[in-house]
Amino acid sequence: MERRSLAASSLVYGAAIVMSAVILAPLVWLFLMSISSATDLSAQPLHWWPETLDLSRYGTLVSLVSNSAGEAFLGSLRNSLFVSGLATLGAILVAVPSAWAVSRTPQVQWSLFAVIATYMLPPVSLAVPLYMGLAHFGLLNTIVGLALVYLTILAPFATWLLKTGFDTIPQEIESAAMIDGARLDQTMRLVTLPLAKPIVATTALFAFLLAWDEFFYALLFTADQRAKTVTVAIADLAGGRVSDYGLIATGGILAALPPVLIGLVMQRAVISGLTTGGVKG
């Protein structure tokens, strides 16, 4: 390893400290807001460090008392969990066979570009007919309806990511099984899928994060506690008449916790996912 001069070294460390501060400061402030008392937050100039600790908002938002703000917020977390889970399941089910087919069949490789183009479509281009269609089938403001709409994003995304994953599994292993007389479904079940397990799991987690983050369709197609997701609940908090900024911040912390934890645990997969292209912010 090359030796750096003292000046170069201090430049590197200085830049690293500045960058860490830039990334951390807003997040630390979000957390501090969630535990500062209302008086600390409305002081001018601000009290950067809370004089009185106030953990009550976590109790307010995580509460099962009926008709409370907590029940509504927990309900939105539950809706997000169900919608994202259902949409992810559906996406994986249709994407696994298609991704495998595209990966193993040069003749249909071009269809991957159609899949990618679909994934990049702006949601506004489908919003009006989807709204009318959901209304027609009585699926507006339902978990199933929103999950179905999320498939428009998740299914092409999962197909794309799974295809790049299947590409890394050598075809020869499958051919060997086939030569030994295994049928296609047996080869898939006994050879390919066990090998592809980590790929499928990573894709499912990314799809789940994508659905958890979705806001536009959720804003359009949900109206109340029956299907409202956590992103809509956060937007309501931020844009509504809530005067306690600490409460808004607490909602943000709670909504961010699942994806941030998943992101940190899956660091390695995140980085390799980013470099294949499909995973976005």
């Binding site: 690293a16 299914a155 536009f216 931020a238 961010a256 912010g281």
Partner: protein, 293 residues
């Protein structure tokens, strides 16, 4: 196995995906085209065929051109800043220093933070009375009196660009870092030994590895920026005085707030057309780089 059977088998395996996509993407897309030639309302009676009237009204009105301009400004400046900061951050993270893996892990945080939470967080930071930015700048003596960052047409869009940049530059950084780490160590070392300056090393040693992944990131980020809705909706809803009203926000207002489904659809199609051009670039890039898809 005959090649015809292999192709048929592939289509059979893709059938479930195909059916779902035709139902929830293909059909809606066709219906958007149909709606764009009508004066259909979102709810109630079905509309009449009006030919190109919706498009004519859009292309001659101020709202569309204003939104197009706002979207372009947002996309150009946020993407440019994200690419620049991302590459600088990656160059830093490619150096050896203590705590490097910690800093790299930090980069995951803004990426993982939900877009809506990021928007809400910065909306609180920019708050005109109790926001952290006003307090910080005043305490540092940079600002003499509190400002309404999101309330003034002159600063609102830039405040949003900064918030978007904070969330997305780490993504570019991680992509660029992965590319830099593919540069063989001895090539990097040889350039130093040969006495190449910092710029020459970047241009001739690192850039050949960076160019491909960065171009892909650039196109992907541009597509995302052109579709921008969430961050703007939560921070300003397109205001003040429409200064942050992008194309997606305008479609939302037209089709859903004013319930003019027909003209909303025509606007949505124009947005789609623009995004399709970028997506075409992306796909062409991927075809050229071969099996990277």
């Amino acid at each position: 196995m005959s090649s015809a059977w292999i192709t048929t088998r592939a289509w059979l395996l893709m059938l479930p995906l195909l059916i779902v996509m035709i139902a929830i993407v293909g059909w809606p897309m066709v219906d958007t085209v149909r709606l764009s030639f009508t004066d259909t309302r979102l709810v109630g009676t079905s509309g009449e065929y009006v030919g190109l009237a919706n498009y004519a009204k859009l292309l001659t009105g101020n709202a569309f051109l204003g939104a197009l301009r706002t979207t372009a400004v947002f996309a150009v400046f946020s993407v440019a800043a994200e690419m620049t900061l991302g590459v600088l951050a990656a160059l830093l993270l490619d150096q050896q220093f203590r705590g490097r893996s910690f800093v790299r892990a930090l980069m995951i945080l803004p990426w993982a933070l939900p877009t809506v939470v990021n928007a809400m967080l910065w909306r609180l930071i920019y708050n005109p009375e109790y926001g952290a930015l006003n307090s910080l700048l005043t305490q540092l003596g940079i600002l003499s009196e509190y400002r309404s960052w999101l309330g003034e047409p002159g600063t609102a869009l830039w405040a949003i660009v900064a918030a978007d940049c904070w969330k997305n530059f780490p993504l570019v950084a991680l992509i660029a870092l992965a590319a830099l780490q593919a540069v063989p160590r001895d090539i990097k070392a040889a350039a130093v030994v040969d006495g190449a300056g910092a710029f020459a090393r970047f241009r001739f040693v690192l850039w050949p590895y960076l160019a491909g992944p960065l171009t892909i990131a650039l196109v992907l980020r541009t597509i995302e920026a052109f579709k921008v809705f969430d961050i703007i909706w939560v921070m300003t809803r397109g205001g003040p005085v429409n200064s942050t009203r992008t194309l997606s926000i305008l479609v939302y207002q037209e089709a859903f707030s004013f319930q003019r489904a027909g003209s909303g659809a025509s606007l949505a199609l124009i947005v789609t057309l623009i995004v399709t051009v970028f997506a075409g670039f992306y796909i062409a890039l991927m075809r050229r780089s071969g099996s990277r898809a």
